[in-house]
């Protein structure tokens, strides 16, 4: 326990931060109803991963990886480059998500997921009821036709009693 308090907790503080941010982001994505807040959560979630990458490239006492005189210890440059790409991906995702939200707002007049789903549900329930009615109608029509012109083995009007 002592070791945990003195070494694990402060020594790996970057990971604790990452995990904390990640959970905050993830929770927001799952729990919030507002589409913009969901997107914010997603961004926080992604940012946590960016921090994970950058912090793992750090070496104790190192400097930024820019060539200078002397013999300094550089931080690992590769994760930083990678995360530059990942940030671009993240920004594109956010932009696309926001664009979708704008369109959803135009189409439904709301950006609350529940409202949108409710609107969909109303139409889809109506549609399903309509489809079922149509299926039944078709069955009934067929049944009627079949009774009218029966030529089969099971039922026959001329069947003797």
């Amino acid at each position: 326990m002592n070791q945990f308090l003195t070494e694990t907790l402060p020594g790996l503080f970057n990971y604790w931060i990452v995990i904390g941010l990640m959970m905050i982001g993830f929770y927001t994505v799952i729990a919030h109803d507002n589409l913009v807040k969901k997107l914010i959560g997603l961004t926080v979630f992604q940012s946590a991963v960016f921090i994970l990458y950058i912090s793992m490239g750090n070496i104790h006492g190192s400097t930024a990886p820019i060539i200078i005189d002397g013999d300094p210890v550089y931080a690992h440059p590769l994760p930083q480059v990678l995360i530059l790409t990942a940030i671009v991906v993240g920004v594109s995702t956010t932009a696309l998500g926001l664009a979708l939200i704008v369109r959803i707002n135009e189409a439904y007049g709301s950006i609350e997921e529940d409202d949108v789903l409710a609107a969909d549900m109303a139409t889809s329930e109506g549609e399903e009821a309509r489809e079922e009615a149509r299926s039944e109608q078709a069955e009934a029509a067929e049944g009627h036709a079949a009774n009218g012109a029966d030529d089969g083995a099971e039922a026959d009007e001329s069947r003797p009693a």
Binding site: V29, P79, L100, D120, A138
Partner: protein, 498 residues
């Protein structure tokens, strides 16, 4: 000149569609954009075919991007496994090109059509990139390129519900992508490399660490999300249902397949079958999920009123078949999984195309709307019937070959329970395919068909649909080349005799 071209082919197959995408935007006219799409996708298909032959002869084709020697630069690697998936992706993309012109025109406003083709090219570039890359991080980037473009494509669907479907897919997909990123980060942390071959060399030293175990877990979860394996499938039915028809066909045939490809590229090539399936219990977990997918997907499929949604649920079930094959981690199992990956791409592509042609005519996709089309659209309906039979696994179709391969692999590995479930799922598929066929042939056309366009679907849609159906039948009666190629691919992944 020609040798130069051949040497550059591994990168050109990605770059051509990638560069054609902005060209589409510049062209700004629907027809010009379509032409560019067709040229680029057919060129990619031709290159994919050449690469397949090259990989068959040489065993593996590798290419150092920008002449940076691996493991420092990005390496592109094409072996038989990736070449087969590459052929599927580019082939379906090329045929979708023929199909898409009339189909897209009937569903999307003409002034936005060029954007569809640009996005499809981007998606194609991403998917192709995933299959050819030999670099873990690069794979993530390509995955996001294809995902982002497919979110946008789905959002272009004609109904407003496409928007929320796309948004939900975006959330799920991004979470999946980020999980993959975490996983890659964790293994990078332990090995300091991103090249897959190099990772495979260095990982065994650190197999025992919890970081690597967590890395595998993150990667598997992330890619399962993209592959829509139960229970991470919830985005898929909505996305396939509300996307434009041509896009449904394209994405259903390729996107989830490529995600499965990537999943098992990581599991087998990077981590190694012995670690994932021996040391860690990945096999049993994946088999269980696959079994649940098969049964639940098929059951859900039976109760759908919309044909596109019915096919989408069936896709969830079929992903279960594919993963069940791979999860055996035996040469027979992996080859069976790969065979079904390819065959299911062909089957579902054909079925979505046939349904798309019907949607083109009746402007709706519920089973009731398709009543009586057997007489009104005989060719399209016949294509659906053959595709449906293939889905069930009737002999002389590709689906039969998959079933045969999967069942013999499952029996050989003594997973009798999963084998029985696979059979049950096949029987369920008789029911859901039968429902559509009965509506097509046994119900009369509704009286108020004035809003219908008349006659069969346009030539381009017919040709694309029937081309896929023809490939289905050819594979069904003569699957030896495909199975041998799959066995070679399986041998490179899990070792053992081809």
């Amino acid at each position: 000149m020609i040798t130069a071209f051949f040497n550059q082919m591994p990168v050109l197959v990605v770059v051509v569609p990638l560069l054609a995408a902005p060209l589409c935007v510049l062209a700004h006219r629907a027809f010009a954009a379509w032409l560019i799409y067709c040229l680029a996708s057919w060129a990619a298909f031709a290159m994919a075919f050449l690469l397949f032959v090259e990989a068959k002869i040489a065993g593996q084709v590798s290419y150092a991007v920008g002449n940076w020697a691996p493991p420092f630069g990005i390496e592109l690697v094409i072996d038989t496994y990736s070449a087969l998936v590459l052929l599927l992706v580019t082939g379906v993309a090329a045929l979708t090109g023929l199909y898409a012109r009339k189909s897209i025109a009937s569903e999307i406003a003409i002034e936005r059509e060029y954007l569809v083709f640009a996005l499809m090219l981007l998606c194609l570039a991403g998917l192709v990139g995933i299959t050819v890359t030999g670099d873990a991080f690069n794979l993530f980037v390509f995955l996001e390129i294809s995902s982002l473009s497919s979110y946008a494509l789905i959002a272009m669907g004609p109904k407003r519900r496409a928007l929320l479907s796309s948004f939900q897919y975006l959330i799920m997909g991004t979470v999946g992508g980020t999980f993959l990123l975490i996983g890659i980060g964790l293994i990078f942390m332990m090995t300091g490399t991103l090249n897959m071959a190099d990772l495979a060399d260095r990982l065994p030293e650190v197999y025992a660490t919890r970081t690597v175990q967590a890395g595998l877990a993150f990667i598997v979860v992330g890619l399962s999300l993209k592959a829509a394996l139960m229970p991470a499938h919830i985005w898929l039915p909505n996305a396939y249902t509300y996307a434009p028809s041509a896009i449904s066909a394209f994405i259903a045939a390729t996107a989830t397949k490529v995600a499965v490809y990537a999943l098992f590229r990581f599991v087998f090539t990077v981590f190694g079958a012995g670690y994932a399936f021996g040391t860690l219990p990945l096999g049993i977990v994946l088999l269980a999920l696959a079994a649940v997918s098969m049964i639940a997907g098929s059951l859900a499929s039976i109760f759908q009123t919309d044909v596109k949604r019915l096919l989408a649920w069936s896709s969830v079930a079929q992903m279960g078949y594919i993963v069940a094959g791979f999860a055996l981690a035996t040469p027979a199992g992996v080859s069976a999984g790969l065979v079904h990956l390819l065959n299911h791409g062909l089957i579902k592509g054909a079925l979505f195309m046939a349904v798309g042609a019907m949607v083109w005519r009746v402007r709706a996709s519920s089973i009731n709307d398709l009543a009586g089309l057997g007489r009104a659209m005989p060719l399209t309906s016949a294509a659906f019937v053959v595709g449906g039979l293939s889905l069930i696994g009737v002999p002389a179709t590709a689906g039969f070959i998959s079933k045969w391969a999967l069942m013999s692999a499952l029996f050989d590995a003594q997973h009798y329970g999963v084998m029985a479930l696979l059979l049950v799922a096949s029987l369920l598929s008789i029911i859901y395919v039968g429902r559509v066929i009965e509506a097509l042939y046994f119900r009369p056309l509704p009286d108020d068909v004035s809003h219908h366009k008349h006659g069969e679907a346009p030539l381009g849609m017919q040709v694309a649909t029937w081309a896929l159906i023809a490939i289905n039948i050819v594979i069904g009666v003569h699957a030896t080349p495909e199975l041998e190629a799959a066995a070679r691919a399986a041998a490179t992944l899990v070792g053992g005799g081809a």
